[in-house]
Amino acid sequence: MDAISKAMPYLLEGLQVTVYIFIASLILGLIIGLIMALLRLSPVKPLNWIAKIYIDAIRGTPILVQLFFIYFGLNSFEWISMDKTTAGIVTVGLNAGAYFAEIIRAGIQSIDKGQTEAARSLGLTGSQNMRFIVLPQAVRRMLPTFTNQAIISLKDTSLLSIIGIADLTQQGEVATSATFEAFKIWFVVGVIYFILIYLLSLLANFLERRFELR
């Protein structure tokens, strides 16, 4: 028990970093995802391609390579300088964005065309139709897959320890080398991740019930 109580302050510090990076990259991912989904559905071909290339590039490469590309690769240009945390958020955000884009696109396309026709026939513009009719219904359908991706992204943040971000995983490393109690420390780190993800799925369940279609 001694090792754990000694390690706890470090781990909790790491937890804060993990939660911060997760929330920031989730928001970034959502914004990118929505934009990319709309580009993907746009009738303008070049916009389509931009979204398609982005999504394929992200899905077709490992997130670790993306992280190195952004942190080491982009930072090698003189006019870019990202600190570790920013690079971490950008990596997980861009990565999640590609998957969110596909989730949002599928959600939007699953809404019956009659809904759009009814909205447009009332004089709503295309964007009003999106905002008031299509997206509110699509979001409800997207929530379960959306939760999945959020959980994956949360776990992805543990990779950021490789570039030295002091997240939960990195702090676990620190605590292990200070105490030499690898089994106990990594067990506790696992439990903390588990609780975090469990809370996330509770929140998702709550949201699903709230948005329930009548």
Binding site: S121, L122, G123, L213, R214
Partner: protein
């Protein structure tokens, strides 16, 4: 001047030519019923009147505005044309009243209080005042379609388009919807109704258009068209449905 004027309207889906050469004029306060076999282009014709379908060729002039002109603001034109669909297309995530008040609030920027009041009036008119706070999923087909009519009327349209409004209904619910439409016709609404309800066309229609193969084959007042059809295709269609 006629409120709707259609000249040489053509519509193709890819290589399939659905409307070949449609010419029609509809006067204010007129109730025009469009009948014909399935695949004849009736619904497509109706959907061209508010440009839910892109128009391939020809002219559609609504209240003096050529809606095929790319410079025209189609959203503006649609505000004055109500449409009722076969499959209702109510917004399932909104209450009945919200369905009715959405467009006045968002499109015409009418205050919520005023829209709600008007919305309740319209729901009373279609006999569904007590359903204002229900969700569409809790309504029967006939009730849904009456809400859809109220929703369209909330924009104070000058023209109402009906696309087979009773085709998806159980037989015992057809009457309640037709009753509302009849009342609307009596109030002087300009209506274009694609329908399989020959009784309605005969009783309420001022004029009936018979379409087949992408053309308007014959048009006349109901008594003449049903009583004394001129074209063979009209005769054979009517002999099958009457």
């Amino acid at each position: 001047m006629s409120i709707i004027q259609v000249s040489n309207l053509k519509k193709s889906f890819g290589t399939l030519e659905v409307l070949k050469d449609i010419n029609a004029e509809i006067q204010e306060k007129e109730v025009v019923c469009v009948i014909g076999p399935s695949g004849s282009g009736k619904s497509t014709f109706l959907r061209c009147l508010n440009k839910l379908e892109d128009i391939t060729d020809g002219q559609v002039i609504i209240r003096g505005q050529d809606i095929t002109d790319p410079k025209i603001n189609i959203n503006k034109v649609r505000q004055d044309i109500g449409m009722v669909f076969q499959s209702f297309n109510l917004f399932p995530h909104m209450t009945v009243l919200e369905n009715v008040t959405l467009a006045p609030i968002k499109v015409r920027s009418v205050s919520k209080a005023v829209s709600n009041e008007k919305g309740m009036e319209l729901l009373a008119k279609v006999g569904l005042k007590e359903k204002a706070n229900s969700y569409p999923g809790e309504l029967s087909g006939g009730q849904k379609q009456r809400v859809a009519i109220a929703r369209a009327l909330a924009m104070n349209p000058k023209i109402m388009l009906f696309d087979e409004p009773t085709s998806a209904l159980d037989p015992e619910m057809v009457g309640e919807v037709l009753e509302v439409m009849k009342q609307l016709a009596q109030e002087g609404m300009t209506m274009v109704v694609v329908t399989h309800e020959m009784g309605f066309a005969r009783e309420v229609g001022d004029r009936v258009l018979f379409m087949d193969g992408g053309y308007i084959v014959e048009e006349n007042v109901p008594s003449e068209l049903f009583g004394n059809p001129q074209h063979d295709r009209t005769k054979s269609f009517l002999s099958k449905v009457l």
